[in-house]
């Protein structure tokens, strides 16, 4: 009997993937703090996580050539749609990065990532306890 490991771990693997993707987006924002006309982006965590949990009901399109642009499938958290941030105070050079806010978001995201890791770790420990019976 195959172990339904994906179901056992719950939403945490998807949350982990999404957090990793979000940290990339926030790192890009922080790297472009001084780039003129750069618009800060972010992942809509809630809706992206909700979408990644649902299985795709439509048939996927096949990419038969390397130049084909991949479609966003709802089952894949890594191809999540990015949204532009609404700036609190816009700067003259067209840059919308607020580095303090980005730092706060980055820290929050890191804690989320670590929380997901802790949850998965605990699940594995429970499994080990069940297997060894000790």
């Amino acid at each position: 009997m195959a172990l339904p490991l994906d179901n056992y771990l719950g939403i945490h693997p998807q949350a982990l993937k999404l957090s990793a993707r979000r940290s990339e987006v926030l790192a890009a924002n922080l790297a472009n703090t001084d780039t003129p006309n750069y618009k800060a982006q972010d992942v809509d965590f809630k809706s992206a996580l909700a979408a990644s949990g649902k299985a795709s009901t439509t048939l996927p399109m096949v990419a038969t050539q390397a130049s084909h642009i991949a479609l966003n499938s709802p089952g894949d958290a890594l191809t999540v749609q990015l949204k532009y941030r609404v700036p609190n105070a816009s700067s003259l050079d067209g840059n919308t990065v607020d580095s303090q806010m980005e730092q706060a978001n980055f820290a929050q995201n890191a804690v989320r990532y670590q929380a997901s890791l802790t949850f998965i770790n605990a699940k594995f420990r429970n499994l080990m306890t069940a297997i060894t019976g000790q």
């Binding site: 990793a20 993707r21 940290s23 790192a27 890009a28 790297a31 472009n32 191809t79 580095s99």
Partner: protein, 137 residues
């Protein structure tokens, strides 16, 4: 973190800020340089940043930052009357650099803060990556 591109992004930010710090150092060092002609006088240098996507059909990759080039300030180079200066022209004028020292100091602080931000991003990502490696142990 399954992807290593975060290191490329933060690294590109660090290298761009490093170029900015270099130009600031050059500007501050040459703030008092003089020259005999207005054209040859030292002009303040500033880098131009641009965000770049790794590839068009790879929307997954984040945007890193790239230094497009170094631009020289178009401000006027002030003429000073210093007939005793060996570099003075026939009328006794020397042309000073157009470096604004206060502006450069502010630029330096901004660049060093941005650099620190990128280092912090890299450190946090490294810690999370190491924690992921230890998963299940």
């Amino acid at each position: 973190m399954p992807s290593f591109s975060i290191f490329d992004i933060a690294g590109s930010g660090m290298s761009a800020q490093n170029v900015r710090l270099n130009t600031t150092a050059s500007n501050l060092a040459n703030a008092d340089s003089v020259s005999s002609t207005a054209g040859a006088a030292y002009k303040a240098r500033h880098p131009v940043f641009k965000s770049v996507q790794a590839a068009l059909n790879q929307p997954k990759t984040g945007t890193s930052v790239k230094v497009m080039g170094i631009m020289q300030s178009q401000d006027k180079t002030p003429a000073r009357y210093e007939p005793g200066n060996p570099l003075a022209n026939s009328e006794g004028y020397v042309y000073a650099s157009n470096v604004n020292v206060v502006e450069e100091m502010a630029d330096m602080i901004s660049a060093s803060r941005s650099y620190q931000n990128n280092v912090e991003v890299m450190n946090t990502s490294k810690d999370l990556m190491l924690a992921t490696l230890k998963l299940g142990q």
